[in-house]
């Protein structure tokens, strides 16, 4: 199952510059300067057994922006995505060069291919983030990877670990897990975990003794959880 989605420039710069001829000349000269564009194909594959991934947030930004930092409290946009799968606040972070959402939920074993196209610049970094929806606040992704490393035609592939946003206790109760395993609440404002991003310790599940858990053995996961392949097209 492959989906396509189009990534468009979010920051409208001077896309086309028009220089008109001098006023004392009736011949209007028009010089159209096309901006240099970059385009990338980003494929993600869900490697988990039973954790659908929420629509991927793809962010292009300079290195002053970090969607998360291990050991530090999650920013609210990340918390909202990690607890409920809603990527809209991440996509709206101020100062992004460009941003786009994946087309939809990526089921276990499925993949999605996104085409990302935006204007050239310096210091461009790619961040990808998506929630493992049958958890309290687990997410996986790519944290500010410099896409300047890729020449046209080159590819880079990596696998990603699962992080815990640290904003919601891993109670695993039906009321707190938004995915199909439970259908509970997504984002909640309260922070009742350690309030720092860390490497997720995995889910326990009812099958392993957490009697209140809405999860079963099938919802367990290990690292890595997602495979990413980035190819620079232009």
């Amino acid at each position: 199952m492959n989906k396509q989605s189009l990534f468009k420039l979010a920051t409208p710069l001077l896309a086309i510059a028009v220089i008109s001829g001098c006023s004392d000349d009736d011949d209007d000269e028009e010089i159209v300067i096309e901006p240099l564009m970059r385009s990338y194909e980003v494929q993600v594959v869900n490697l988990t057994p039973n954790q659908p991934l929420s629509p991927v947030a793809a962010l292009v930004h300079d290195s002053t922006i970090q969607a998360w930092m291990l050991g530090s409290p999650a920013i609210v946009p990340l918390e909202v995505m990690a607890e409920g799968g809603d990527n809209s606040q991440l996509l709206a972070i101020e100062g992004l060069w460009a941003s786009a959402s994946g087309a939809g939920v990526i089921m276990p074993g499925a993949s999605e291919t996104m085409m990302l196209e935006f204007e050239d610049s310096v210091d461009l970094n790619l961040t990808l983030a998506t929630m493992l929806v049958n958890t309290n606040d687990a997410f996986t992704g790519l944290n500010s990877w410099s896409i300047d490393q890729l020449a046209v035609g080159d590819s880079w592939s990596a696998t990603t670990n699962v992080y815990d946003a640290g904003t919601e206790a891993n109670s695993e109760t039906a009321a707190t897990i938004p995915g199909p395993a439970a259908g509970g609440e997504g984002y909640a404002e309260a922070r009742d975990d350690v309030d720092r991003v860390y490497v997720h310790a995995g889910v326990i599940s009812a099958d392993d003794g957490l009697t209140d858990s809405a999860l079963s053995f099938s919802h367990r996961f290990d690292n890595p959880a997602m495979k990413i392949t980035i190819t620079r097209i232009e």
């Binding site: 050991g71 720092r196 957490l210």
Partner: protein
């Protein structure tokens, strides 16, 4: 089995490397776990034929003392004469915490290794085995895994047992351990250094099979992030 492996006497190694480039490294370590502390870390630069541990091989007595009780004095003694950063956190490194970046002059040494006990576990440790020090200046990130020294059964009983050969876990530094566990197992099936399978735990803080808590003490790899800046 009881010593670090040295293929060459230290004096020979120091003399032989005279033409290599000395490197100044700035090193910090971050604990990425949810609820596991690291006991004092030992970080060393050394030649490629020296190691603190090797997967698939029995632990040395020095590694066993570190992994079962957090005692790095035997590793320090075995690494005498080599560039070593000992106990950079000045004690336990708490979950989420990072050590203050510290300098290590690696001299002519080409490899970097690290160990520190995972607490509370029986003989789990965070490890880095012979990472080649890059010659190109820059900042490098290495994610580290949790290993099992293979020297003690993972009974998950917190009883103060930290001496080599004594069963049990010394302490749960987070104050979140249980008591009265009967023990998960009394055998260690793989007696060589291997990837730690993680802990089982149970939800009975005053009994059951384990004194560990699945909600507090489990982890998945990686357990630590090592940041090295080659200057």
């Amino acid at each position: 089995m009881n010593k670090l492996k040295f293929a060459l006497p230290a004096a020979v190694m120091l003399a032989a490397g005279a033409s290599a480039n000395a490197a100044q490294l700035e090193i910090s370590v971050q604990n990425l776990t949810h609820g596991i502390h690291f006991t004092p870390l030992i970080i060393a630069a050394h030649p490629g034929d020296v190691y603190m541990y090797q997967t698939g091989e029995a632990a040395s007595a020095a590694l066993q003392a570190m992994a079962e009780g957090g005692d790095i004095s035997m590793l320090e003694a075995a690494l005498d004469g080599m560039p070593v950063l000992s106990n950079p956190a000045g004690g336990l490194l708490a979950p989420g915490a990072s050590t203050t970046p510290m300098m290590l002059d690696t001299g002519e040494m080409t490899y970097l290794s690290l160990t520190g006990m995972l607490l509370p576990t029986n003989d789990g440790f965070v490890g880095l085995d012979r990472w080649m020090i890059p010659s190109e200046p820059g900042t490098y990130t290495v994610y580290l895994k949790g290993y099992d020294a293979g020297t003690e059964a993972n009974d998950e009983i917190i009883n103060g047992g930290g001496m080599s050969g004594v069963p049990g876990i010394p302490v749960a530094p987070g104050g979140d351990g249980g008591t009265g566990a009967s023990g998960v197992t009394s055998t260690e099936l793989n007696t060589t250094v291997h990837i730690h399978p993680g802990v089982l735990g149970d939800f009975d803080p005053a009994g059951g099979v384990s004194d560990l808590d699945p909600s507090a003490h489990r982890w998945l790899n990686p357990v630590a992030k090592l940041t090295v800046t080659v200057q």
